[in-house]
């Protein structure tokens, strides 16, 4: 028998052995992965899918780091509506790597965007352009907004400086950028506050090199204030709600996710202590057959999230959570649809396709 490198490869290297016939409950993690201890403080950020990771970590008894919690006088349902508890601090969804980098720089005073206050939708109140949905109805005054932002950024600094593990879910490559200073907004101006101005706002679709560069810069800065920080990168499986690229939204989604996936791989390969976790593959891969998407083929079901987190906890913490049931071949669509429950997450990107008021 001829010897060649594939002879000694593990089963995970072969589609037939590790994917074919395995059903949706596959485990696509191979090789070394981060080890998570119960006492490790885990912080999360990213696109809306990252909210699921935060929720499951909390529920699994891990030390989910929250440096910006709601004040105890605030009723829980109100706190949730105001963006508390979704992530480690109240920054809302961070869709692009550039946004993450700029959050760090804003927190440490290295970047002060020129456009830093927006009128709220409807004209009453003010919105923070960098977390436009965290204060429903808007802030009552500029002084209130600025005081809240100062507090928020102090909590962000505390998070960066005290976390042990940072889980960042890459969501988008498409973004809206200030032509004045390059500030990246999580939502297009005018969608949830602000006024779109073609002279001051331009569309940008980040390329792989830019995402890699932004992530590398972020890691360097994070390690500058927290040398021991370990990082897990994931790519959100949630397709784009809308694209401004001129491409079909499906093709735009493929581009965006491909760039993010490639960038995550390069970063994980080049930076010690940075790991890639394949939640994207678990949800969107052929084995799942769209099973983990809700009827809109965009939102991820609780079943899918549970599978992602069971794989995550198995490899990060050695915990065997119950895996989702294997899909029966004869299962009719109606059965699948009935079993799917949408995961309630704050996905403000969906506002891009909101009907006109």
């Amino acid at each position: 028998m001829t010897s060649h490198p594939y002879r000694d490869m593990p089963a995970t290297a072969f589609w037939r052995r590790s994917v074919a016939g395995k059903g949706p409950a596959i485990d696509p993690v191979a090789g070394a992965f981060l080890t998570l201890a119960r006492e490790d403080k885990v912080a999360t950020a990213g696109s809306c899918f990252a909210q699921n990771i935060a929720r499951h970590l909390k529920n699994s008894g891990f030390d989910f780091l929250v440096t910006e919690s709601a004040h105890p006088i605030v009723p829980p349902h109100v706190a949730e509506r105001h963006g508390y508890g979704l992530y480690s601090a109240r920054y809302g969804n961070i869709y692009t790597a550039r946004q993450l980098l700029q959050l760090f720089d804003r927190a440490y005073g290295a970047f002060t965007p020129a456009e830093d206050i927006w009128p709220a939708p409807g004209g009453s109140g003010l919105v923070d352009p960098f977390r436009p949905t965290i204060e429903p109805g808007g802030f009552a005054s500029e002084a209130e907004l600025r005081a809240d932002r100062t507090h928020h950024l102090s909590r962000v600094r505390e998070m960066f400086e005290t976390l042990d593990v940072f889980v960042f879910t890459l969501g988008l490559t498409e973004g809206w950028v200030s032509t004045v200073d390059g500030a990246v907004f999580p939502l297009c101006p005018g969608v949830s506050g602000g006024v779109f101005d073609a002279g001051r706002h331009r569309f940008h679709n980040f390329r792989t090199g830019e995402v890699v560069s932004d992530l590398a810069a972020f890691i360097a800065r994070l390690r500058g204030v927290n040398p021991g920080a370990r990082i897990i990168l994931t790519v959100s499986p949630v397709p784009l709600a809308a694209t401004a690229s001129g491409n079909h939204v499906l093709a735009a989604t493929t581009y965006s996710k491909s760039v993010l996936r490639a960038a995550a791989q390069e970063i994980a390969e080049d930076h010690p202590g940075v790991f890639y976790f394949p939640s994207y593959e678990i949800i969107t891969g052929a084995p799942a057959g769209a099973r983990y998407f809700a009827e809109d083929l965009r939102n991820v079901t609780e079943e899918g999230v549970a599978h992602v987190m069971s794989v995550f906890l198995r490899h990060a913490a050695g915990i065997e959570a119950p895996a989702p049931a294997t899909l029966k071949a004869e299962a009719p669509d109606a059965t699948v649809a009935a079993a799917r429950r949408w995961v309630e997450v704050m996905c403000d990107e969906a506002m891009l396709d909101a009907p006109d008021e």
């Binding site: 004040h71 006088i73 009723p75 109100v78 109805g137 802030f139 009552a140 005054s141 209130e144 507090h151």
Partner: protein
């Protein structure tokens, strides 16, 4: 005004009752101001039902109806008016502050966690469910009525600490300290705005505290305080005069 007055409420009716007693003793022929304290034992359980369906218990509704039938009074409500004290009399272990919208209120305490007014409003409203139910119940029983703004807070924190009643002492006011006067004032103002909003929704009037009971910064004048959170007979007299002037 040539009408008797009926004031319905809880702890804040004490100032009105004391003022009315002094008036009655001075001039027995004067039109009377009467009060109904809704949580006195004979009216228990005060409210029956939940939420929008909450109503005064039959004994209480009957007592109010009887007063209205017999005296055709101007009906006022001193209902509630304590939730703001629950929030801002004792210094919170996690100090917070907020800015009042629409007026030049006190600035933020730099040592406190800034909250948006919307969050503080939500917190207050969460605590105001019973007071709101009382207002609905009054509207049902009395028709048109006037809600009295609750007395402003005292500016003097030491006086509050010394006069705080058992409720606040049990909650550790001695150990935690008294909240800052600025927060007390802002919480009271926001509380009043919320109550005024409820009244507007329900078709009830809202009578602000008599200006002469406040100092230049809006706090209750010390000589009008009955204790840390209530007015005294002189305060009650000022309120009655305010009602008579309507």
């Amino acid at each position: 005004m040539s009408r008797a007055i009926l004031v319905i409420g809880q702890s804040h009716v004490a100032a009105i009752r004391a003022a009315a007693k002094i008036r009655r003793e001075a001039d027995p022929e004067r039109l009377r101001t009467r009060v109904i304290h809704t949580i006195e034992p004979q009216y228990a359980p005060e409210l029956v039902g939940d939420g929008d369906e909450a109503r005064f218990a039959p004994a209480l509704a009957e007592a109010i109806g009887d007063q209205i039938t017999r005296h055709d009074p101007l009906v006022a409500s001193a209902s509630g008016g304590n939730v703001h004290n629950g929030f801002a009399l004792i210094r919170h272990p996690r100090p917070y502050d907020f800015l009042l919208s629409g007026e030049d209120g006190p600035p933020l305490d730099p040592e406190a966690e800034p909250l948006s007014e919307a969050l503080v409003r939500a917190a207050l409203e969460n605590g105001l469910a019973r007071d709101r139910a009382r207002l609905r119940a009054i509207r049902r029983v009395a028709g048109a009525a006037i809600q009295l703004e609750s007395p402003p807070p005292l500016a003097d924190s030491a006086a509050i600490a010394a006069q705080a009643d058992a409720y606040f002492k049990d909650r550790g006011i001695a150990a935690l300290g008294v909240a800052s006067p600025r927060l007390r004032y802002k919480i009271w103002r926001l509380h009043s705005r919320i109550i005024a909003g409820y009244c507007a929704e329900l078709g009830l009037g809202f009578l602000p505290v008599p200006r002469e009971t406040q100092d230049d910064n809006g706090f209750l004048l010390p000589h009008l305080a009955g204790d840390a959170t209530h007015g005294n007979a002189a305060y009650g007299e000022a309120v009655i005069r305010g009602l008579e002037a309507m």
